[in-house]
């Protein structure tokens, strides 16, 4: 494809890695290769910060997707490091075989490829295909353990995801149909760059219809209520590194798609504002997710629901719109990716040392495993929006910008936040404190990914580099 060269870094590397990992037998080597390749991808993505390649027919880079790519590559890298430590133990405990792991690594990279492709895609059709690819590769990883629950979760994810993707495709087709009279036939009518320029002239009604399908379709991947069904089980039953990337990355990619189409809608005066829809689904997800936290038994499912909650918050923020809220949404998105993946790293180790994911059987972590325990406490407090972590800042901005737009909307928002906080704290209270119970097995892991993420979140809460701020602000302005 023309002008694809600059993108080789973020696309070629994972693809190559996938191929390479498919043939490496030793899982130790594979794990290292995996990490190295992810690091390369990260560097490649960082290069975009300095040199923005010109948009080609299929691929392009603008301020918006750089954010996502960088976050994506970074969390992908840290996860690959974490996964190296994680799978070793899985092998020891005999939950997976080396053959599975070969498969696992391959799929990990192809998923990274899919997500990066979706992010750099300049073409709504290509975007769709890429998201589909990412979904399929995660599906098989969710089913990795071959337990009944794992298979069931994978299956549920697969079916719901497919239907969602189908809806998204119909929406995509409609967008093309809307564009075609203006831009004529052919590839041009599916290019973001072109669409954005001419969207004003499109038939608004078709756009509205299209957005409904797109919101539901990609919203399924985002995990918005009521199309969230697959999310909790997929997080709970898959290997923890996958839970981390699911929450930290895949949801973002889907959200990215929604955002793009929202921008498209915003560009057309005649189209209904997508804001109310997103606000509605966002609030629903927030409240629902928050309420669902209370009755959880499984610690990974718990945090899966918290992801639903936070995706709701982010969607809500973008629904509110305006430079401030968009800024807050982006910030919250980044913070959530970092924090939630950090939490899953911690949870992964916890599940391994305690030999269970049942919240009821995990007690007094700060007593039995201080580093891990306090790491988890920090993570949970951060995700619950406690200062001085970054999420406090983004939530502050979201609430205040909401007040500025429409004060009454802030009330359900606040209620949701409080409900979610109460539930998380309730579980944290028992997991992290009290008399230790359950297995006492000790392992010395590298907690670097966990605390690295937390450190970043803390830093962001205290000080955002002005360059970053201006950059985010420019994006926020674009988002409208």
């Amino acid at each position: 494809m023309t002008g694809a060269a600059p993108y080789l870094g973020v696309l070629g590397v994972p693809l190559m890695a996938a191929a390479l990992l498919a043939i490496i037998a030793s899982y130790r080597v594979a794990a290292r290769v995996n990490a190295v390749m992810s690091l390369l991808t990260l560097l490649a993505s960082l290069s975009f910060l300095f040199r923005k390649p010109a948009p080609s027919a299929l691929l392009f880079i603008d301020d918006l997707n750089i954010v996502f790519i960088v976050v994506n590559a970074f969390v992908g890298f840290t996860t690959s490091v974490f996964s190296a430590a994680y799978i070793g133990h899985e092998i020891e405990s005999g939950r997976v075989t080396t053959a599975h792991l070969r498969f696992y690594h391959t799929m990990f990279q192809s998923m990274m490829f899919g997500m990066n492709l979706a992010l750099v895609a300049n073409n709504i059709g290509l975007l769709w295909v890429a998201v589909e690819l990412a979904t399929l590769s995660t599906v098989v990883m969710v089913g990795l353990y071959r337990t009944h629950q794992a298979l069931e979760a994978a299956w549920k994810y697969f079916i719901l995801g497919s239907v969602g993707i189908a809806l998204a495709l119909f929406g995509t087709t409609l967008v093309y149909v809307a564009a075609q009279p203006v831009l004529g036939e052919g590839i041009a009518s599916m290019e973001w760059t072109v669409l954005m320029q001419h969207v004003a002239a499109f038939e608004p009604d078709i756009l509205n219809l299209a957005f409904v399908f797109l919101l539901l379709g990609y919203g399924t991947k985002v995990g918005l209520v009521p199309v969230h069904g697959w999310l909790p089980d997929a997080h709970a039953e898959g290997p923890t590194p996958i839970s981390a990337v699911l929450s930290g990355l895949l949801l973002n990619v889907a959200l990215y798609a929604v955002l793009r189409f929202k921008m498209l809608m915003a560009g057309n005066p005649g189209a209904v504002a997508p804001g109310p829809l997103m606000i509605g689904m966002g609030l629903t997800s927030l409240l629902f997710g928050a309420v669902m936290l209370y009755r959880r038994r499984d610690i990974k499912r718990l945090f899966a629901y918290s992801s639903i909650e936070h995706m709701g918050i982010i969607t809500f923020a973008f629904g509110i719109g305006g430079p401030l809220a968009n800024f807050a949404g982006l910030l919250h998105m980044a913070m959530h990716s970092l924090t939630k993946s950090a939490i899953f790293y911690a949870v992964g180790h916890v599940a391994q040392v305690k030999g269970t994911q049942q919240i009821a059987q995990i007690r007094g972590l700060t007593q039995s495993h201080p580093v891990l325990g306090w790491g988890l406490v920090l993570g949970v407090l951060a995700i619950a929006g406690m200062p001085p972590m970054g999420i406090f800042m983004s939530e502050f901005l979201i609430v205040t910008s909401t007040m500025a737009k429409n004060a009454w909307l802030a009330v359900p928002l606040i209620v949701g936040l409080l409900l979610g906080f109460g539930a998380l704290l309730m579980h944290l209270n028992n997991v992290a404190f009290g008399e230790p119970s359950g297995m006492e097995s000790r392992r010395h892991d590298s907690y670097a990914p966990l605390f690295g993420h937390l450190a970043l979140v803390l830093l962001a809460g205290l000080y955002l580099p002005s360059a970053l701020v201006h950059w985010f602000q420019s994006i926020a302005a674009v988002l409208g």
């Binding site: 589909e132 239907v163 189908a166 075609q180 009604d205 009755r295």
Partner: protein, 220 residues
């Protein structure tokens, strides 16, 4: 010529909606699969026709895939699964067939109203194509929702996806249709393999009904 082209396209697309209704109506597994084969064939025809009227040769590929894969390969595979896993023969429904049909009619009405109102600027060919496509899509979804039986749900999904292909092919000059239809075929292949691999006997709900809630972490 244009008029003829329009009429045939209309006929075929409408035919698909009709076949979707037939799908809804079936209560025997075997018959269901046959009707689906028909559904796929009609799709293939209409795609081919679109290829002809838009003289977009790449669409023939799509048509061919539709015919070969969905009209022949998959139905036969499903038949084998049905025999292999001795899934008992009749289709269990959650809502009565009649009720389903009524809802279906409502859905078709909805989609046509919506489409015709929305797609004013589009050329008539695309318009009714889209309208019918949406109808087929919704009917497929309806089928997935109302059928308990795994195989018939797969069929529902495939008919839904036929609707998508119909829409894509109807959108004049839409690129990537082939790629997309291929991607979808992969998807469906996955599903069918899944059915086969994971021994999904009765329903999507669970890989294995007996273990559905027993070990689930979150049973309160």
């Amino acid at each position: 010529m244009a008029a003829l082209g329009y009429d045939v396209a209309h006929l075929l697309a409408g035919g698909m909606v009709l076949v979707s209704f037939m799908l809804l109506y079936q209560d025997r597994m075997g018959a269901l699969l046959n009707v689906f084969a028909l559904h796929a064939t009609v799709l293939a025809l209409s795609v081919a026709w679109q290829a002809y009227v838009q003289d977009a040769p790449h669409l023939y590929v799509t048509a061919f895939i539709a015919l070969g894969l969905k009209a022949i390969l998959i139905p036969s595979a499903l038949r084998r699964i049905v025999q292999r896993l001795d899934i008992h023969r009749e289709v269990e429904t959650t809502v009565g067939i009649g009720m389903t049909m009524l809802v279906g009619v409502a859905l078709v009405a909805l989609s046509i109203v919506l489409m015709l109102k929305v797609t004013v600027g589009v050329d008539p060919l695309g318009r009714q194509d889209l309208a019918f496509a949406l109808a087929v899509l919704l009917l497929g979804l309806l089928m997935m929702v109302t059928r308990r039986n795994a195989v018939s749900q797969v069929v529902g999904f495939m008919s839904l996806e036929n609707g998508l292909i119909l829409a894509a092919s109807g959108a004049r000059g839409m690129p990537l249709v082939v790629e997309i239809s291929i991607a979808f075929s992969v998807l469906i292949a996955f599903i069918v393999i899944g059915l086969f691999l994971f021994r999904i006997r009765e329903r999507f709900d669970s890989v294995d009904v007996t273990t559905l809630h027993a070990f689930r972490g979150d049973r309160t």
